[in-house]
C-alpha cells in the first residue's frame, strides 16, 4: 500500500470491437482510494476494466496498474487485483465456501489459508449462514455478495467492482454499499466502482471518472466537480417552457430537466447578493410570460456533474 505511483494509469488507450471504438484515446489517472467509473450504458466502463485485467488488448496506448504494464505483466497485476464481474459467475457444482476457497487457491493462497479466509470473507459479506449452500441455489442478491467474496478472498490491493448493486433489493444494496465504503475507507483497499447508478458512486467514492462514448468526459474529486457546478436552483413553472429556457440560456444559465417535472438551473459566476439569483430568474420568467410555481436553492449533485459531463440537456 506504500506505492507512490497511482494504482491505475491509462495513456492514450484505444480499444476497438471490430469497427466500433469502445475506448478512444483515453488517458486517465485513478488515484488511491475509492474511484467511481461513471457513464451511460455503452460508455466503455466495462471495457476499461476488462482491458485493465488483460482480457482485451488495446489497439493503442498503455495501461498500468501499480506501475506494472498490463500487456507484459498481467499475472503480477492480477495477483494484486480482485474483480467482481457484472454478470453472474461461479464455478458450478460447489458450495460457497468451497468456491471462495478455490478462488483463493487460484490466486496463490495455500489451501488451509484459503479455506480460513473463505470463511472469514463469507461472514464479512453476510453469507456466513449460507456458506455451505450450493452457489447455484443463491438468490440474485446473494450471488452479488459471493462475487464480492471471491474477489476479496486473496486480500487484493485493488478491487474492480462492475455494477456491484445490480439486482439487489434496497436493504441488500445499502449493505453492499456499506461494505464497499468500509473496504476503501477503513481497510486500505483501493476500489474502482463501475456503475451507472450515481447515488452508489456518490456514497462509496471520493473521486470520479465520467466516461461518455469511449472518452473521459470529466474526472476529479467529487466535491471539486460538484463545486464547479456553481449555484443550483430547483424550479417549476407554468407556461411556455422552451421560450423560458431559451431566455435563461441567453443569460448564461444552464438548465437541466429532471424526471420529476422540476428543472434545475445552474448559475455561473460570483453571486451578486443574497437572493440576487432568485430575483433574476423571476424577472426572466416574468419577461417570458411564465408563472414560477416553485423556486428554491439546491445543492450540486453528482447527477449534475454527470449530466454536464455527458452534455445532457
Amino acid at each position: 500500500m506504500a506505492d507512490l505511483q497511482p494504482p491505475v494509469l491509462l495513456e492514450h488507450v484505444t480499444v476497438q470491437y471490430g469497427k466500433s471504438a469502445a475506448l478512444r484515446d483515453v488517458s486517465a489517472v485513478f488515484p488511491a482510494g475509492a474511484v467511481g467509473l461513471l457513464g451511460p450504458n455503452g460508455a466503455g466502463k466495462s471495457t476499461m476494466l476488462k482491458s485493465l485485467l488483460g482480457f482485451i488488448a488495446p489497439e493503442a496506448g498503455h495501461l498500468r496498474v501499480f506501475g506494472l504494464d498490463v500487456a507484459t505483466e498481467p499475472l503480477s497485476i492480477r495477483a494484486r487485483l480482485g474483480y467482481m464481474p457484472e454478470t453472474d459467475g461461479h464455478v458450478p457444482g460447489m458450495n460457497a465456501v468451497t468456491f471462495v476457497a478455490y478462488c483463493g487457491e487460484l490466486a496463490g493462497l495455500p489451501r488451509a489459508d484459503a479455506m480460513q479466509r473463505a470463511h472469514e470473507v463469507l461472514y464479512y459479506v453476510g453469507l456466513g449462514e449460507a456458506r455451505y449452500r450450493n452457489v447455484e441455489t443463491y438468490s440474485t442478491g446473494m450471488k452479488q455478495r459471493i462475487k464480492l467474496a471471491q474477489a476479496l478472498v486473496h486480500d487484493p490491493d485493488l478491487l474492480f467492482l462492475d455494477e456491484p448493486t445490480n439486482g439487489m433489493d434496497p436493504n441488500g444494496r445499502d449493505e453492499m454499499l456499506d461494505l464497499i465504503r468500509d473496504l476503501s475507507h477503513n481497510k486500505g483497499i483501493n476500489v474502482i466502482v463501475s456503475s451507472h447508478l450515481l447515488p452508489d458512486v456518490e456514497y462509496t467514492c471520493d473521486h470520479v471518472i465520467v466516461l461518455d462514448k469511449g472518452r473521459v468526459a470529466a474526472s476529479g474529486p467529487i466535491e471539486a466537480l460538484k463545486g464547479a457546478a456553481s449555484r443550483v436552483y430547483e424550479l417549476r413553472i407554468k407556461g411556455d417552457l422552451p421560450a423560458f429556457i431559451t431566455r435563461l440560456q441567453h443569460e448564461g444559465m444552464v438548465c437541466r430537466e429532471t424526471d420529476e417535472d422540476v428543472m434545475r438551473v445552474f448559475v455561473a459566476g460570483e453571486p451578486r447578493d443574497s437572493g440576487g439569483d432568485q430575483q433574476r430568474i423571476c424577472t426572466l420568467a416574468r419577461e417570458a410570460g411564465v408563472q414560477v410555481r416553485h423556486l428554491r436553492p439546491s445543492v450540486p449533485t453528482l447527477e449534475d456533474v454527470f449530466a454536464r459531463a455527458i452534455g445532457e440537456p
Binding site: T87, A107, G108, G126
Partner: protein, 283 residues
C-alpha cells in the same frame, strides 16, 4: 460505531505461492470433484477388467505352456490389449463423462471471467482442465497397459520377455498415450465450443461415428483400406501397428495417420485459444 462485519475482515499476512501453480489447483479440485461421482468410479473399475483377464492369460501361459499355442503372450498381445474394443468403449465413455463438462460447464456458469481474473493465464487454465482428462484416461488406458508388463515380469519371475523385446515399454507407453492425448484434446476443444454438456457429448460421439461410417462407405466404394485416414479409430490402429512393428491392417501410410492425429491436436489447440477468454468473442 463500527459495524459488526468489521470484526471479520483482516488483511492477509501469510505468504502467497508464486504464479504458475494454478493449473495444479484446477487439476486437484477437478479430480476431487469427479471422484465423488459413483458412475465415474464404476467406469474406471470396469476399465481394469481387460487387465485382469490378460493377467489370468499370462498366468496360465506361464504355468501351462500349452496355453501359449492358443493365447500367446507376445508383443501382439500387448498391442491387442491397448487396441481392444472393450477398452475403447470404456475410454470413450470416460472421455465423455469427464471431458464434456470441463469447459462447457464453466462457460455456462460464466466462470471463465472468474478464473482469468486470477493470476493464471489461459494456457494454464487449459493445462489444468486437460490434466484432469489425461489423469482419468491415463488411469484407464496407460496404467493398466504398463502394469500388464510388470505383471508379466512378476508372474514369469524373470526379465527375459522385456529383454527380448526392449521396445515393448516405450511402444506401450507411446501407443496408449496417443490413444489418450488425441481424444483428450479433441474433447476439450468440443467442450470449449458449447455451454451444453449434452451437446458436447453428442458432438463427440457424432464425430467418431460419422468418421467410422465415412470410412465404411469410402472403403466400400473404392475397395481399398487406403481411405482409413478418415476414421479416427483406424488412424489409431495404423499408428499402433507401426509402433509395435506389426503387419499393417490398413493400406493408409503411417505418416498420413500421424498427420491426421497431429492436425486434430492443432485444430483443438486453435479452438481452445479462441474460445477460452475472459470475454465472450462476438464476431
Amino acid at each position: 460505531m463500527s459495524p459488526v462485519h468489521d470484526q471479520s475482515y483482516a488483511r492477509y499476512q501469510g505468504t502467497r505461492r508464486p504464479t504458475g501453480h494454478a493449473w495444479a489447483v484446477i487439476f486437484k479440485t477437478g479430480t476431487r470433484q469427479l471422484l465423488g461421482r459413483r458412475v465415474l468410479v464404476a467406469l474406471l473399475l470396469l476399465a481394469w477388467t481387460p487387465f485382469l483377464v490378460r493377467c489370468v492369460q499370462i498366468y496360465f501361459a506361464i504355468t501351462t505352456p500349452q496355453v501359449t499355442r492358443i493365447l500367446p503372450v507376445d508383443v501382439a498381445m500387448f498391442q491387442r490389449f491397448i487396441d481392444n474394443g472393450f477398452q475403447g468403449v470404456l475410454s470413450f465413455l470416460i472421455t465423455i463423462y469427464v471431458g464434456a463438462g470441463l469447459i462447457a460447464n464453466d462457460r455456462r456458469a460464466r466462470a471463465l471471467q472468474v478464473y482469468l481474473s486470477k493470476p493464471l493465464g489461459r494456457m494454464e487454465y487449459i493445462a489444468g482442465k486437460l490434466a484432469i482428462l489425461l489423469y482419468f484416461l491415463g488411469f484407464a488406458v496407460i496404467l493398466p497397459a504398463l502394469l500388464l508388463i510388470v505383471m508379466q515380469v512378476i508372474l514369469s519371475g524373470s526379465l527375459s520377455f522385456v529383454r527380448a523385446h526392449p521396445s515393448i515399454v516405450p511402444a506401450v507407453v507411446l501407443a496408449s498415450a496417443i490413444r489418450v492425448i488425441v481424444p483428450a484434446f479433441a474433447m476439450l476443444a468440443l467442450s470449449a465450443l458449447s455451454t451444453s454438456t449434452r451437446y458436447v457429448a453428442v458432438m463427440y460421439a457424432g464425430i467418431l461415428f460419422f468418421s467410422e461410417a465415412m470410412y465404411g462407405v469410402l472403403s466400400f466404394v473404392t475397395g481399398s483400406t487406403g481411405v482409413a485416414w478418415v476414421s479416427l479409430g483406424a488412424n489409431f490402429d495404423v499408428v499402433s501397428d507401426a509402433i509395435f512393428g506389426q503387419p499393417p491392417r490398413y493400406e493408409t501410410p503411417v505418416i498420413v495417420s500421424v498427420l491426421v492425429l497431429a492436425a486434430i491436436v492443432v485444430v483443438a489447440l486453435s479452438v481452445l485459444d479462441r474460445q477460452v477468454r475472459g470475454v465472450e468473442v462476438v464476431s
